[in-house]
Symmetry: C2
Subunit: 254 residues, 2 copies
């Protein structure tokens, strides 16, 4: 059994708790939260604590806390030379205090407390400061049924940026579309099959090849009509910018 | 049986042909294309023609041609007072010459010749110049197993714009993300579960509520780091603009 201690009671911490708890390959030694009441509802299923100096021994300590709290929390740990990971996409491995062995266990997914998620479908990006701990990270991923990918801190920063485009920015495109349909008393649900098919296509085609629409066709009549329909200056600007980019692929020198 | 004539051999025409052909409720009287060779491979299954003056009687003539060809084609029809529809999202009903009864049968989906599509999952936006033809449009939709929605020309223009956001622009977000991962030698496939979950969420939550990420959190540290990572000026501009919009929802007066 892999012994773990979870630190943090946010979305990632809570989803990790559930994934570990329902899996006989793991023993959750403790769940730490600064605010004990955030996790007190789980006290029948796991030892909970708000005392950093009372953490028990584990094979892996998972710091599932806000990006800006990772470093501080890692300095406050009272033990040394144990394996301490964070779960952040945007922080490098070296934010973890050097008194312990450091690692990253970054589940590349969007979590919300309201919706359950099949953890086994999440790709895990892993990194460690030494080879032995990498084996632990692979074993943890395998035990959860997850695919894992060795991604270093530099790559992870790029991946996190790419994730912002495919998740946060895409979601905002849905927000704008819903505003447009709401205002015209059109049911937003009519768009959902199209939204789903847009995603299905990239499982088969490179997104560059899958591109359709007035921008890639150079259909200026439709483009100009759309720009007239949009009333918000910023939305016009956005429409023009993406239309430009679809026709003039920018190349990132990363 | 509903008698139809299809005009046009593009993606929509071809997918419509297949949907009608595999359905015993329809009789395809003819399939017209200006370039007969484009549809000659189907000549064993349907009467094909390139002669507009030889079109047979049908309950519905479907003009599945480019937006800019709809009007001209409708004027070239040699009959009058029959039911003629176009399939365009962005053209009003009145581009169809008034010598015939006009309608719109707009399947709100992205089509490509390479990939098969389950027609019954496509919402159909319908409009007609008289009530009796509306019944035909509903019957055609029902016979195909599709949901249908009465959407007038003004609403359809808005819906088409919204479709550009959820399909074309979203797909371009995937293109940028793939460029970022390719350049850092990261497998783009790692992002696909996140892409799928982004869509799953809007089946449960309003996109405004589903919004996550550094922009909505006001996490300027991460935002500035991402802006440093992006090398293309236009990509920086896009990142800043969408980040602004996520925090300052623009309201369209439509």
């Amino acid at each position: 059994m892999i012994k773990v201690v979870i630190l943090g009671s946010g979305n990632v911490g809570t989803h990790l708790f559930k994934a570990f708890k329902n899996n006989s390959k793991f023993e959750i030694k403790q769940w730490y939260s600064r605010n004990l009441k955030d996790i007190s509802q789980y006290s029948d299923f796991v030892k909970i604590t708000d005392q950093l100096d009372q953490l028990e021994f584990a094979d892996m300590y998972v710091l599932a806390v806000n990006d800006d709290s990772i470093h501080d929390l890692s300095t406050q740990l009272s033990f040394t030379n144990r394996f301490v990971c964070h779960t952040s996409g945007s922080k490098p491995i070296d934010v973890i205090d050097l008194k312990n062995r450091s690692g990253v266990f970054y589940p590349l997914q969007t979590f919300s407390k309201e919706s359950e998620i099949d953890f086994s479908k999440i790709p895990i990006c892993i990194e460690s400061s030494n080879d032995e701990d990498m084996i632990t990270l692979k074993n943890v991923s395998k035990a959860l049924g997850c695919s894992y990918h060795e991604i270093d801190s530099n790559q992870r920063e790029k991946l996190h940026l790419a994730a912002v485009f495919v998740n946060n920015f895409t979601n905002h495109m849905y927000t704008i579309a819903k505003e447009i349909t709401d205002k015209s008393k059109i049911d937003f649900n009519i768009l959902k099959p199209l939204i789903s098919e847009t995603v299905n296509k990239i499982y088969k085609l490179d997104p560059k090849v899958a591109q359709t629409g007035p921008a890639i066709r150079g259909d200026n009549k439709t483009i100009n009509k759309h720009l007239l329909v949009l009333k918000s200056k910023k939305h016009k600007e956005l429409y023009e910018l993406i239309t430009y980019l679809i026709n003039n692929l920018e190349h990132e020198e990363l």
